[in-house]
């Protein structure tokens, strides 16, 4: 029992979520293995972002429990960091201040947090833009600021809410490749919400398919064969293409 809890960084047990009359999540249970990237995939409005925010502690569940590394989740904590779909940057602050904001809220002193922020700004490829403002950056650059901010608080669990859906296709593909490298190099657990089947199969160690409202997990897919191929070959691999097709076939019935 204790082995199960430490192997799974996040455990969601029998979650129900109602918005008034509307039942968004019904009896949803799911485990997220340590150090891996798990996707939550499903059509629009199926509750994937709701589930992610419940794990983050931003929304309370109507019923059920979420455990992160063995502790019960009741509100946001230092063990989880969130990357937002619309970037959620502060337009009045520079890139440096935005990236250091998580540390600022934790009371880290200015010099220390700016040094840490500068390192992650370099890691995401935004060197030279420390003193720029968000309105001076492209969409892709803004999301990299959001990612740097989430990485700089060094949480073991990273929650990403459709992080690449607001950028253009070329940038999105580059981000997916960068994400694969990130998962390989950082010893963190990633929970990734997306509505793109190709994206989910490309980046994930494990894909949880969610049905439309009221949502629960319909199936869990663990792509194996192409996980260790280099970033360019994955999109041509036949197992990758077959997996994408079979997921689309099963989701199609819910869209029609």
């Amino acid at each position: 029992m204790s082995d199960q809890i430490t192997d799974n960084a996040v455990s969601v047990k029998n979650i129900y979520k109602n918005y008034g009359e509307i039942e968004a999540l019904r009896d949803l249970s799911l485990d997220f293995p340590n150090g891996q990237l798990t996707s939550l995939l499903g059509p629009s409005g199926c509750g994937k972002t709701t589930l992610l925010k419940i794990i983050a502690g931003l929304l309370p569940a109507t019923q059920g429990e979420v455990f992160v590394n063995g502790s019960l989740v009741t509100k946001p904590g230092p063990d989880r960091a969130f990357v937002f779909q619309d970037f959620a940057l502060m337009p009045w602050a520079s890139v440096l201040r935005n990236v250091a904001f998580g540390l600022e809220l934790r009371g880290v002193n200015k010099n220390e947090r700016e040094d840490i922020a500068a390192k992650y700004i370099k890691d995401v490829g935004l060197v030279g833009f420390e003193n720029s403002f968000p309105h001076e950056l492209s969409g892709g650059m803004r999301q990299r600021v959001g990612l740097a901010r989430a990485l700089s608080v060094d949480s073991p669990v990273l929650l990403m809410d459709e992080p690449f859906s607001a950028v253009d296709e070329q940038t999105r593909r580059k981000f997916q490749e960068d994400l694969l490298n990130l998962v390989k190099n950082e010893n963190k657990t990633f929970i990734f919400v997306t509505h793109s089947i190709e994206e989910a199969v490309y980046v994930s160690d494990q894909i949880a398919i969610l049905l439309p409202r009221p949502s629960r997990v319909s199936e869990i897919i663990k792509p194996k064969g192409f996980r260790n191929k280099d970033v360019d070959s994955i999109r041509k691999d036949s197992e990758y293409l077959d997996t994408v097709e079979s997921i689309w076939k099963s989701l199609r019935t819910y869209v029609e």
Binding site: A56, G57, L58, P76, G77, P78, R80, A81, F82, F84, D86, A88, L89, M90, P91, W92, A93, S94, F101, G102, E104, L105, R106, F133, P134, H135, R149, V153
Partner: protein
């Protein structure tokens, strides 16, 4: 120094003053002095020290009224934006202040507070505060929710969210409200002097009108407008200093 905006300000000034000069020289109205005549009157008032004595009187209710309207106005506006109960309690006062004609309220003020500094400060506040409170409260209520959520997700407390997210997010609209409110405050200061008791610059305007010294009258009006413009520029610089990211340039 010669930035685009500075150059445009000088250019627009030159156009207006040029038009004024031209209009003064035509026969359109015997009471309209030319720009140069008014400037000469202004120069004379400066040399004789008259303008400085006048401002010593006018600036007192103006400065006190603008100070109260800005700081207390923003404070009330933030509270109204955050609390529904406070909004219900306090908003009607400012709606009435905004809507009621000042000329009707002034006799009430004189009855309650006499004809001294207090009434004049009230007039400035009545002109300035409603728009500052309204702008601030609307900006606070409309803070984008995803930035607030972001702050909570990174462990921000309620106080953090108000001071580090809501107020900076509201600052462009708060400063717009300040610009509108403070300009109205300047008008209020002169109106108070014209309608309650004549002192300061308002006195120069009334007296020179009564003695048909139109260049002096226009000179006094010009000086107060100039002061208001300078103060608004100062507000712009203050906003740029505290919230550099607010200046997002022009759309085109």
């Amino acid at each position: 120094m010669l930035t685009r905006s500075f150059f445009l300000k000088i250019l627009s000034g030159a156009l207006i003053f040029g038009a004024w000069e031209y209009a003064g020289r035509t026969e359109v109205n015997y009471a309209l002095p030319t720009f140069l005549e008014s400037m000469k009157a202004l120069f004379d008032m400066t040399m004789s020290g008259l303008i400085f004595e006048a401002y010593a009187d006018t600036l007192r209710p103006l400065a006190v009224g603008v100070f109260i309207s800005s700081f207390i106005g923003i404070g009330i506006g933030v509270w109204v934006g955050l609390s529904e109960k406070f909004d219900w309690l306090v908003s009607p006062i400012f709606i009435i202040m905004q809507a009621a004609p000042l000329a009707a309220l002034i006799p009430l003020l004189i009855m309650a507070y006499g004809i001294g500094l207090t009434s004049k400060v009230f007039v400035v506040c009545i002109m300035a505060m409603p728009v500052i409170v309204l702008n601030t409260s609307v900006a606070v209520k409309n803070t984008p929710s995803s930035v607030k959520e972001m702050a909570r997700s990174f462990l921000g407390t309620e106080k953090d969210v108000i001071l580090k997210i809501i107020i900076p997010a509201a600052s462009p609209v708060i400063f717009a409200g300040l610009r509108l409110g403070v300009s109205a405050g300047f008008i209020g200061a002169i109106l108070a002097e014209l309608k309650i008791t004549p002192t300061g610059v308002g006195d120069i305007i009334s007296y020179s009108r009564m003695t048909a010294d139109y260049p002096s009258m226009y000179a006094a009006i010009f000086s107060i407008i100039l002061l208001a413009v300078l103060f608004l520029n100062l507000l712009e610089k203050i906003e740029n200093f505290f919230f550099k990211g607010n200046n997002q340039g022009y759309i085109s």
